[in-house]
Each structure stands twice: as C-alpha cells, then as structure tokens.
Amino acid sequence: MPATNNIKLIVDNKGENFPARSGRRGLYRWPLAGFSLSSFLQVIAMDQQTCLLDVYNPTNNREGHFYFISGSLYSAECGVLKNEEAALEMISWENARFNIRHLSDTANIAKRISKNLMLLLMESSKRIDEKKADDTGKAEPSEDSREKYTDKIASIEPDKEGAASYQDRYHNTNWTECLTTLERDMGPALIGTAIIDAAAGKIMAGCHGAQATAGLFHKLAGSLRRILPGGSFESLGRYYLLDLKSNLALIALLFGRYHWGIIFSREKMELGLFLHVIVPRLIKTFEYHFSSFDEAAQ
C-alpha cells in the first residue's frame, strides 16, 4: 500500500479529543510508534502532505508539533522552543510516538523554517553524534575502530557475475598493490593519494581523502596541460613537486596518461629520503605492475 494511503487513514482521527498521554487513552492519542521520526518526516515531505504532526516523547513526557504544507516544513513548536530549534530538538528524540492531523486552515501558518528538511536532519544527526562523542569522552574513534572499519569495508568483494573486464580487474589489483607500498613506506606522513587517468578524467584508485586529492590533481593536470608545450607532460620528466603551506608537499608521479598524486607532511617525512628512496621505489612498483600488462595489451 502506498505511504499516502496510510497517512490518509491516520488523519481520519481529526476532531477527536485525546487528553491522556499515557495508558490506553494515550495509545489512541499517539497511535504511531516504532519507527524513526526522521524517516517519517521524509515520507511526509516526499508525499507533499499538508498536515500537523504531533510528536510525544514518553521518556521526558514532552510533546511538540510539526506544521507541513505541501510537504514543506513551515514551522515547529516544542515547549518554549520554536521553529528550527524545536524541530532539531524533536528530531533527536528516540522512541517517540506520533499522531497526524489535518491542517484545514493553512492561511495563518507562516513559513518560519527556511532550511530544508534534509539540512535539518543532517544538523540534528551531527548534534547527536557530537553529543555521543562528548558522552563517551572520545575525541575521535580509536585506531582500533578505524582498523575494524577499514577491514569491514575491504572485505566486501563485488559479485563475480557483475565483475568488470579482465583488464579492469587486473588493474584494480595492481592499483591496490601500488597504494599498499605507498602506505607502508609513508606511514603517518601520508595525507592523501590518488591515481588518476588524466586523459579520461577518471579516478583509478586512492585512499586517505582520495576524492579531494583526485579533484586537486585533475585541476592541476588540466592547468598544466594548457601551459605545457603541445599539452604534453613529457617535458616535466618523471614527476613534479610542489611545496604547499602548512609544511605539506605535493608530488605527482607521471606515467603517461596516469598521474599518481601524493600529498604528504614534510614534518613527518624528510624530503631527501622521500625523493631518493621512496619515489624510486614507487616508480619501480608502478612500472612492475603495469608494464607487463600494457605490453601484452599492445
């Protein structure tokens, strides 16, 4: 049954008088429970409902209201809190109970919440996360939980049936080999890395802020192509290096159409060691993993 039909059934209780908050009468007053308020708000917004959503928090015996007109959140009330603050407060409630009523007279309801619902949900989620972090006294997740997270993500393998071509699979394995070598050699000095296909504008592999790093290297590659003779990177040799603020450095290793961008901390990695030991090893690793395939493909 579509969500709209469910809501139509529920709003038929308009005009009922439900004074009690708990007990049997309370169940009639707050007939909806068992799902998250954020999901419910999204359903109302998606279905472009015009309604008054009453919310009750049995934990602290507080209640509040959301006013929706054509799926847009117009205003909210929760005790002394009004509008955005009231909405954020109510969204954070767990195990809340709800009721939906008709809003027959919408003319007197002014639009007092300018943020869209998604932004409010994100803001509320951020506040809850921050509160949880404060409550547990943890400033950040431990290295242990990070490792577990990385392991969980890494253990997910794609379907064989839906797997990409041999060429893609070959490359994916080898990209990982290259990144593993880099991570092992750089340790905590590594800030971000990405291997991009500068010709196709694609990100091939990356870790530690890969999206941001790849975006930066795509921009750099585009700018350099415009100023280099014939748009060719050949004149730059094997790599180019930039000194960045905050004691960071950026290097792009050039392998034809592929550019391997690395951003690292100069405080944690000596430049001499990096250029004379690590860079040659990275170039060797990349060439070892990709030359045989490229030769075979030709």
Partner: protein
C-alpha cells in the same frame, strides 16, 4: 542485487550516523534505496569503498 553496496551503507551508517550515510550517497550519486536495485559490479563496489573511506576520514577530521 546491491547487497554489497547496501552493506557498505550499513557500515558507514553504523560508524558515522545518518550524516555519513547522506555524505556517502552524495559522493557516489547513489542513494541507499537506489543501491538496492543496482548490481554489485566491481566498479561500483570500488567506488563505494573509496567513498566510504573518505566519509570515515572526514568524520574523524571533524571530531578532532
């Protein structure tokens, strides 16, 4: 269909909350609902894995 992608969404939500889930959807351009209808191809799973790593790093960065 989309079981692996869904699993990545679940792990991200578990660790970073609804905000992380929304970030993952915004970075990949694929919502959780849409992910259920897609095949777990190598390209897609890898894209989600990279994005999930970024979401987690961003989350850690904001907590620092």
């Amino acid at each position: 269909m989309g079981e692996k992608l869904l699993r990545i969404f679940e792990i991200v939500t578990e660790q970073t909350g609804l905000k992380g889930r929304l970030e993952l959807a915004s970075m990949t351009g694929i919502s959780m609902k849409e992910a259920m209808t897609l095949k777990d191809t190598e390209d897609l799973v890898n894209k989600f894995k990279y994005a999930a790593t970024d979401v987690y790093e961003n989350h850690r960065g904001k907590l620092k």
